[in-house]
Amino acid sequence: MMEWLTMPQWSPYVAGAGIGLLSCLTFLLSDKPLGCSTAFARSSGMIEKLLRGRQVADKPYYQQVEPVVDWQWMLVVGVVLGAFLSAMLSGQFELVLVPSRWATAFGTGSLVRLVTAFVGGVFLGFGARWAGGCTSGHGISGTLQLALSSWLAVVCFFVGGVAAAMLLFHVIAG
């Protein structure tokens, strides 16, 4: 058992099947599909509320997505901790500012990486709320429910993602 927990990586099929079983558990125990991006919208609302006061909650979007700590917000906090535990157990935890694949194409300068990551994050958060879900909410939970919206969304996620990555690594980096 311990060896299993300290392995650096599992077969992707085993990790994936585990996520599939976890989805079943959350439907059973919480009546909730796994999802992550709404938690980021709730966080932006909570931060805006701290800075600009209560009237932020009157914004039409925050009437639908209340800026409060909910089940999914706790899930995302748990994801950070779970990944940390797994990385620590296998000795893979490592503070990295510029990932190696990025560094081979664009150099080790941290500012360029951070700015690109930030801009990417803005598109990601904006697009996730525009599409009503992310790689987990649409890509896993929605497709497993055979929702038409989710199958369309996940195809668009990867079309956009492949296009942006190819442009970045094969055109801009040359």
Binding site: L85, G121, L124
Partner: protein
């Protein structure tokens, strides 16, 4: 359905937290909390991300529909439209490619020690979601509802029972995984 448990707010927050720990653990063990793995998938050089996702969907699809057939779970398909789902999906994809993480794996990457995920990714994602909230009324009035198709599922669209789609779809996903493996994923 475990309605009593579903309505206990504090217990639910705790279950959400535990489920998150399991999710983060599985993402890290699957290798997908690492930038190099995700970007290699988007560059079509490595297939780990799809192997994890398709396995999750195949197992979850059968399991959740089993729970549904037994009356133990409700389905929650999301509504969609061409304006919201397709366009939003493409915008999301551009962010996915630039950042190299998605909202779940960016949280996992933070736990794995990636500072670009924390200082760039998480901050950017929160800002992007806040920008969407600010523009929501205008977008809602213009583009989000173009080509609406609602929360329809594939079995409803084909007018058949869920299992008529679940079984071949799960088999198709397993076949796809075998094909990826064969082609050297």
């Amino acid at each position: 359905m475990l309605k009593g448990l579903h309505s206990r707010r504090k217990a639910q927050l705790f279950i959400g937290f535990l489920a998150g720990i399991a999710f983060g653990f599985l993402l890290q063990k699957g290798g997908v909390t690492r930038y190099d793995v995700i970007i290699a998938q988007l560059l079509l050089e490595d297939w780990t991300v799809l192997q994890v996702m398709l396995s999750a969907v195949a197992v979850g699809m059968v399991g959740v529909h089993l729970l549904h057939s037994l009356g133990l779970a409700k389905l929650h398909p999301k509504t969609g439209s061409l304006g919201a789902t397709a366009l939003g999906g493409l915008i999301f994809g551009v962010g996915f490619g630039l950042l190299g993480y998605c909202p779940g794996t960016v949280a996992g990457a933070v736990g794995n020690g990636y500072l670009d995920a924390l200082a760039g990714g998480v901050v950017g994602t929160v800002v992007g979601a806040g920008m969407f909230a600010a523009w929501f009324p205008k977008l809602q009035a213009s583009i989000l509802r173009k080509g609406e198709f609602g929360d329809v599922t594939l079995p409803q669209l084909l007018k058949v029972r869920a299992w008529v789609v679940v079984v071949p779809a799960a088999a198709f996903l397993v076949g796809l995984l075998a094909l990826i493996d064969l082609l050297g994923g």
